[in-house]
């Protein structure tokens, strides 16, 4: 399975059991991408990491 990187349009090979919401680094441009939907797999730039706060 593979998908296109939204940043550099490179093609990224993905694991068969890719999870919804999983973070995938783009091997070409290094951008951090998020699996925003499955079948078909769509990747978007992952949101910034925010500090951990919850109880």
């Amino acid at each position: 399975m593979s998908a296109q990187c939204p940043e550099c349009e490179g093609t990224i090979a993905l694991a068969a059991d890719i999870l919804d919401g999983e973070i995938v680094p783009c091997p070409d441009c290094g951008a951090e991408l998020e699996v925003v939907s499955l079948n078909p797999v769509v990747l978007e730039l992952a949101p910034e990491v925010e500090e951990d706060w919850g109880e």
Binding site: G21, E22, E34, P47, E50, D52, W53, G54, E55
Partner: protein, 267 residues
């Protein structure tokens, strides 16, 4: 001003704590009590068929995955504990006033739009999350209550600009309140005697910890919840609180014992 944080963990006898607080308040010591609620929320969640799920962030922090249903369970469980503490304190003649960070915008924060969780090595983004930071304390509200003779008992919620209730970390909440009130002492009560050099060896209790060693301690010595307590301590000290004590919530007079130097004093 003394800000006391009591956890929601099992094994803490609230009557000892409340008796101790009532005595100190009667002697004129201004006090704010901040409580957690994790234990009660876990139990209630299980009873309602929505058990808690904990997520670990890439940097190692564990927190409760707080979807809307979990938030509502958390709000109910913490409200019950709040009312039980107010009940006990009022019964001892203390003019206790229960509220949460939601009420009157006491604790204003930002809702985290997303959280990252690590599950067996894979990192995932979680969106429906109702946790938040604490960016501002409504100090006027607290001082109004304190100056008119009330003892605030605060439940661990903050509120976003959009009015959303937010699950917050109790230790950080207490630290923000202590900072806002420029308290002399922030007392974090827990179900151990303090910070240990090598947990759980009781004889390795650290009695004095200079603030300069806080970062080291939180990285090397502390695990789980204790990490968060040390982070809370750091926030408080940086904002002008004179000392932070990590004390034993299980003792007969947990507050007086800590003020007398038992536990880990961080200055």
């Amino acid at each position: 001003m003394l800000v006391i944080k009591i956890g929601g963990a099992a094994g803490i006898d609230y009557s000892n704590l409340c008796n101790d607080i009532a005595q100190l308040a009667a002697q004129g010591q201004p006090i704010v009590l901040f409580h957690g609620g994790s234990d009660g929320a876990n139990t209630l969640g299980e009873q309602l068929g929505h058990p808690p799920r904990f997520i670990t962030s890439p940097s190692g922090h564990t927190s409760r995955q707080t979807d809307r249903r979990t938030l509502e369970i958390f709000m109910m469980a913490t409200a019950l504990l709040n009312r039980q503490l107010v009940e006990r304190l009022r019964g001892l003649g203390v003019n206790a006033f229960g509220l949460s960070g939601l009420d009157g915008g006491l604790l204003q924060g930002n809702r985290k739009t997303n959280v990252r969780a690590v599950e067996n090595g894979r990192v995932r983004v979680i969106r429906d999350d109702w946790t938040g930071s604490i960016d501002q304390v409504n100090r006027d509200l607290l001082q109004m209550l304190l100056s008119t003779g009330y003892l605030p008992v605060i439940a661990p919620l903050a509120v976003s600009a959009a009015g959303e209730p937010l699950n917050i970390d109790g230790d950080r909440g207490a630290a923000s309140v202590a900072a806002a009130l420029e308290a002399e002492t922030l007392l974090l009560l827990t179900n151990v005697s303090g910070l240990y050099r090598n947990f759980p060896d009781e004889s390795s209790l650290i009695e004095r910890l200079p603030r300069t060693e806080l970062t080291h301690a939180s990285e090397k010595l502390a695990q789980g919840r204790m990490k968060k307590k040390l982070l809370g301590a750091q926030t408080a000290l940086e904002a002008g609180v004179r000392r932070v004590i990590i004390g034993d919530g299980r003792s007969e007079q947990p507050v007086s014992a800590a003020l007398a130097g038992n536990g880990t004093i961080i200055e």
